[in-house]
């Protein structure tokens, strides 16, 4: 039953470009997919270690910028005579560099939050993201500042002598994002189901008790931060190579807010939560755009959010699980009572 359900999901996702037709929907799907990846990484911190990272977009921006710069090539000048010149590298190098750099920043943030939890962690992460936005804005010789990095090359397949081509357009990018999302899902799922994941949940639920039974909570907070950073960096890198242009706005606070909404609405601390939340808040605004006058759109959007938070405070996925459990129990009860009746007859 469960396997059939997953199979159906996969079939829908894989065949989507065939029946979606209009390329605009595919574009929305790709952007939604990228944000789902970022939300999944946020969920690892927020939902499993319990730390709200309000500057989560920093990893997204770092992934985007590092990936773009490495694939475009760049020049770093130290004083008048020394310069580091990096010629343009293949896109996959940039992709890995983006992931690595974001993971490294995840390590730094995790280390800094060594003693700060809760509200302090929120402030540290928020300031970090804002500082990085200012760096991207003002380090014009490297990042082009507000002029943006343009002509970022798309992903390319280069098998020498056999085939080589650039993966322009929506269909290839859709599959790239789908693979990346699948990979991220598997990584997070395996992590939270393991000893490390249980240590993270222990940190979220009761830190004093966790340390009293020998769990080095800081170690696992840093680990979660690195993995979340790297995955979010991957999302940023995918974004950069798909859109082809990035400016310091990739560090905008509003992106963090979007990810948090996706996680909270879907159900934080559940594996499917960010996916469900991401699908709803990725497609819903587009659906509204086509059917409702603009002044109503935001009212409906906000109203829906308030309604969900009020009625399903734990998020959609936990609520559905609860309903499913009740339904199944009722069905089982009915079945057994019918059996008893049959025996009596």
């Amino acid at each position: 039953m469960k396997r059939a359900f997953i199979g159906l999901w996969l079939a829908i996702l894989i065949s989507a470009p065939l029946w979606m037709g209009k390329s605009y929907f595919l574009h929305v799907s790709i952007i939604t997919g990228i944000f789902i990846i970022a939300s999944m990484s946020l969920n690892l911190l927020l939902g499993f270690t319990g730390q709200l990272s309000l500057g989560h977009v920093m990893f997204f921006g770092i992934g985007a910028y590092f990936s773009a710069l490495v694939s475009l090539g760049f020049k770093l000048e130290f004083g008048d005579h020394i310069a580091l010149v990096v010629p343009p590298q293949p896109v996959w190098c940039g992709f890995l560099a983006g992931i690595g750099a974001a993971g490294f920043f995840g390590w730094i943030v995790g280390k800094i939050s060594f003693k700060v939890r809760g509200a302090y962690f929120v402030i540290v992460s928020l300031s970090f993201a804002e500082v990085l936005r200012l760096v991207a804005l003002n380090w014009v010789s490297l990042t082009q500042g507000p002029m943006a990095l343009i002509n970022i090359p798309p992903f390319a397949i280069d098998i020498p002598g056999i085939w080589q081509g650039k993966l322009y357009g929506d269909v290839p990018n859709y599959y790239i994002v789908l693979c990346a999302a699948g990979l991220s899902y598997v990584i997070i799922r395996r992590l939270v189901g393991s000893r490390a994941g249980r240590a993270m949940i222990a940190l979220k639920e009761n830190e004093a008790l966790a340390t009293s039974i020998g769990i080095d909570v800081t170690h696992y907070l840093v680990l979660a931060s690195i993995v979340a950073g790297a995955i979010c960096g991957m999302a940023g890198s995918l974004y950069a190579h798909y859109i082809g242009i990035i400016d310091p706005d990739v560090f905008s606070f509003i992106y963090t807010v979007t990810m948090i909404i996706m996680v909270i609405i879907g159900g934080k601390g559940t594996l499917a939560g960010p996916i469900v939340g991401g699908l709803i808040f990725g497609f819903f605004p587009e659906f509204l755009r086509g059917n409702v006058p603009p002044e109503i759109q935001w009212i409906v959007y906000g109203g829906l959010m308030i309604a969900i938070v009020f009625m399903l405070p734990e998020g959609i996925v936990p609520a559905f699980k609860q309903w499913f459990r009740v339904l199944r129990d009722n069905a089982a009860a009915m079945w057994s009572s019918r059996k008893q009746a049959a025996v009596k007859d």
Partner: protein, 260 residues
């Protein structure tokens, strides 16, 4: 008499909170395979001593040695990973997850898998997970919560929550377990059952340091009793002698009157 090896040595520790001297010059030790009780009136410094030993507080002077190794200054998780595990006075659980998962988290120290091995889903990880589940079930039935494994920890009755707290600590495989008022809030039947469990814990070769107010239980289960008053040690003897100690009687009853 068997040769006694000491497990825990508390040597002359002092703890100050601002101007309040919570503990001064406290010295005692726990021997291997012993059940030592730490008693005293409210505010005597029992829980403070517990917090110091388990690394949640730092003594301002003195030393604490566990198996000959100085442990004051270590972090709580480091002390726990040496095999010295505590429970808390206020019930402390991972409340929003199931009883089973609580114990599974407690097995952290026992599990060997590295994070990257879990990411690659190596076969040995799956084997270990299966083994951990068996072990968790075994501990849950050991503390008498056999039928409650699937329920939410926070939904247990109060006495059961205290049992689960002990179960989590046992999962961390202590050689010395420190129990902070484990039977407070339990009814007499539950207390008697808990006393049986203490014996079973000792049969596993685990030493116990107990803080408790229930004197009947303390006198029944302890090998030795240490009495604190205003942060000072006033008696250290076997239960029979403690019950006759005039200083202890004075502290508990407040008057130098003859006790019938």
């Amino acid at each position: 008499m068997i040769a006694r090896t000491t497990l825990l040595d508390v040597e002359n520790i002092a703890i100050r909170f601002g101007g309040v001297q919570a503990i001064s010059g406290l010295t005692f030790s726990v021997h291997n395979h012993e059940l030592l009780s730490l008693i005293g009136p409210n505010g005597a410094g029992k829980t403070t001593a517990f917090n110091a030993i388990s690394g949640f507080l730092r003594p301002s002077s003195g030393r604490i040695l566990y198996r000959g190794q100085i442990i004051n200054g270590l972090k709580p998780y480091q002390i726990a990973s040496l095999g010295l595990v505590r429970t808390f006075q206020k019930t402390s659980l991972f409340e929003r997850i199931s009883v089973f998962e609580n114990v599974l988290i407690g097995l952290h120290r026992h599990a060997q898998q590295k994070s990257w091995e879990s990411l690659l889903a190596l076969p040995r990880v799956a084997r270990e997970e299966a083994e951990l589940r068996d072990r968790a079930n075994e501990i849950i039935s050991f503390v008498g919560l056999g039928s409650r494994g699937g329920g939410r920890a926070g939904a247990l009755a109060y006495g059961e929550q205290r049992l689960l707290g002990v179960g989590i600590a046992l999962a961390a495989e202590p050689q010395l377990i420190m129990l902070d008022e484990p039977v407070s809030g339990m009814n007499p039947t539950e207390t008697i059952r808990f006393m049986d469990m203490l014996q079973k814990i000792r049969q596993r070769g685990i030493s116990i340091l107990l803080v408790e107010h229930d004197m009947r239980m303390v006198m029944a289960v302890s090998d030795r009793v240490v009495v604190l008053n205003y942060g000072r040690l006033i008696a250290d003897a076997i239960p029979d002698l403690i019950q006759k100690d005039p200083e202890v009687i004075r502290v508990y009853l407040g008057q130098e009157k003859k006790i019938a």
